[in-house]
């Protein structure tokens, strides 16, 4: 059984023009000990998906359908009180902004202890302090930093503190939403290496969200690429390094200038994402797709599933389908 199974998840924002379908039928699984990446550009729904899993949706956003099964339990059916048993203890979350959301007037020590005591009420304060020290060691921070205030630490260090907090209760799944985007690359590299090292040591799973596909390819085992509220393609790292299958992923990969190889002109992806209140029929990428076929406009994309992953695109339909389409629309 997978640790996390997302099936046909739908998340909508209420709006005057009608529901804004930020996440529209997303399905994927995360295995134990796996780093699963969710990539895509702004507005594709990757963060909303993560928020939905971590129950962080606020205001006009709501889960409109689908299921989120965590270790066999259907999370969408839990009450908020029931979900509290999962939050932090089994599923923890590291947000991009978290390092700036540490309480500025509390020492790091207090914040770590509070986080531990909040979920393990029976813990002795002295035990919590010892645990806080261990957590700091885990993320390579000297213990004396426990006595510091957040502003006395650099951005990278604060993000390490946040990761330490997320690890406090040894969760099985850590959701990381752009955890290093605000940091410089050298700092980012250090933190990413640390995450991989900790994952190897503790065996937790990670849902890693970023727009930075090359970064994702360096650390994730499998990657889902989202476009306009849907998953265009899921592929193993090896598969994607050898060549992505969905035209959107291909375009995305061609948008990052490389540091090696010949200097070639990259074309990016012209156009813009469709309106998610009244999304187009058929494939949502077809307006920007260099390989669009006639059937892309009205038929839901063909779904090819194999051991490398899953790709939703008519290009991968069986040969007959191609021919029929060619006959049907001269």
């Amino acid at each position: 059984m997978s640790l996390l199974e997302i099936n046909d998840l739908r998340i909508e924002y209420v709006s005057a023009r009608g529901p804004f379908k930020a996440v529209d039928g997303v399905s994927f699984t995360i295995e134990r000990g796996e780093i699963f990446g969710l990539a895509g550009e702004s507005g594709c729904g990757k963060s909303t998906t993560a928020y939905g899993i971590g129950r962080l949706l606020r205001g006009p956003a709501r889960i409109a359908g689908g299921s989120i099964r965590f270790d066999g339990t259907e999370l969408t059916e839990l009450s908020d009180a029931q979900f509290d048993a999962y939050r932090w203890a089994r599923i923890s979350i590291v947000l991009q902004s978290a390092m700036n959301n540490l309480n500025p007037v509390m020492k790091i020590k207090e914040q770590l202890i509070d986080a531990i005591l909040a979920h393990r009420k029976a813990t002795l304060r002295s035990d919590a302090l010892r645990q806080a020290g261990e957590l700091m060691e885990l993320v390579d921070l000297p213990k004396d930093r426990l006595e510091r205030f957040p502003h006395e630490l650099s951005g990278g260090m604060r993000q390490r503190v946040v990761i330490a907090m997320a690890l406090a209760l040894r969760p099985e799944l850590i959701i990381m939403d752009e955890p290093t985007t605000a940091l410089d690359v050298i700092t980012q590299k250090g933190i990413i290496d640390k995450i991989i090292e900790l994952k190897r040591a503790f065996g937790f799973s990670v849902l890693f969200i970023t727009h930075d596909l090359p970064l994702m390819l360096e650390i994730c085992d499998r990657i889902g690429v989202m476009y306009a509220g849907r998953i265009a393609e899921i592929a193993t790292r090896e598969r994607m390094l050898a060549g992505a299958r969905h035209p959107y992923t291909q375009g995305l990969l061609r948008s990052f200038p490389s540091l090696t190889g010949p200097r070639v002109r990259l074309e990016g992806i012209p156009g813009s994402t469709p309106d998610l209140i009244a999304p187009p029929q058929g494939c949502r990428f077809r307006e920007r797709c260099p390989h669009a076929l006639p059937q892309c406009g009205n038929e839901a994309p063909f779904v090819l599933e194999d051991r490398d992953g899953r790709v939703s695109c008519h290009l991968y339909a069986k040969e007959e389908a191609f021919d029929e389409a060619a006959v049907a629309s001269p």
Partner: protein, 285 residues
């Protein structure tokens, strides 16, 4: 996601704008055509006292035998003039000083802050009363001046702080890079972005001026020859209208004052909403 929420805002903005404009237009029309609308001449005391509202006297008569409806109509002109003129004076001075002080930040700014902070600890109404009683004649002009001169400081202060934050924004630097002079950056780039704050101030100053005029008149410091909503209320109070159950003498001027201010507030809020809608998401991104 944001755009969707702004849609109803646009509609309600439009409705508010229209509602406010209608109210103010009616008042404006009344104050322009007082002679045509008022059934009896100004200060005409030839009627019986304490008459209840009737066809002849829509709002009855007061203890002097004046027709309350006619008084109310004449009062509209005073209140309207005071509100609009005091609002204009305040806005012009407040915007000029506020923008300059915010943009250049030097001694202008410090001096302004000093004076405003000083005034903040002095009750303005008391100061107005003192000023008003020292002025030789308390005509309409004096009232307008007293109100206008005491209000711009607050306006300048709030516009200054908004200018301070606007000048940090990227478009100011971009305008400099494009070669624009300081003056044209202030007037053509920053000023239009201050529109909401100016408008909000204008609304509050205008309503404040109308209320202040009513207050001063009510306290008997206004121009005795001039009829305003405030003087009507003052007279009603002085002659124990409440004890005579003469609601028609008290409620209409009070209601008129409230309605007038409401109209301004509607226009202010409505155009703010429209403005935000037009500027749209770009501000929040």
């Amino acid at each position: 996601m944001r755009n969707k929420r702004t849609l109803p805002r646009e509609r309600s903005g439009k409705a508010k704008l229209w509602g406010g404009a209608c109210i103010l237009l009616i008042f404006a029309a009344v104050s322009l055509a007082t002679a045509q609308i008022a059934p009896y001449p100004k200060n005409d005391m030839e009627f019986e006292v304490w008459l209840k509202p009737s066809a002849a006297h829509l709002l009855g008569t007061d203890s002097y035998g004046q027709d309350v409806f006619s008084q109310l109509v004449y009062g509209t002109r005073t209140s309207f003039l005071v509100g609009v003129l005091a609002g204009l004076i305040t806005t012009i001075i407040g915007v000029l000083v506020g923008v300059t002080a915010g943009f250049y930040r030097r001694w202008v700014s410090d001096a302004l802050m000093f004076v405003v902070d000083l005034l903040l600890i002095i009750p303005v109404m008391a100061l107005m009363i003192i000023l008003a009683s020292f002025l030789p004649s308390m005509g309409l002009t004096s009232i307008v001046l007293v109100i206008g001169l005491l209000s711009w400081l607050y306006m300048a202060r709030s516009i200054r702080s908004q200018t301070l934050s606007e000048r940090q924004r990227g478009y100011v630097e971009a305008a400099r890079v494009a070669g624009m002079s300081d003056l044209s950056i202030m007037l053509r780039e920053i000023l239009p972005n201050l529109y909401p704050i100016i408008l909000a101030n204008l609304v509050s100053v205008t309503t404040h001026a109308v209320l202040a005029e009513a207050g001063l008149s009510f306290l008997g410091i206004g121009d005795p020859k001039n009829v305003s909503w405030g003087t009507i209320l003052a007279l009603a109070h002085a002659n124990n209208a409440i004890m005579y159950d003469a609601w028609w003498w008290i409620v209409p001027p009070g209601l008129a004052t409230a309605l007038f201010c409401f109209g301004f507030i509607l226009i202010g809020n409505g155009s703010l909403e429209r403005f935000r809608h037009k500027r749209g998401a770009s501000q929040q991104t």
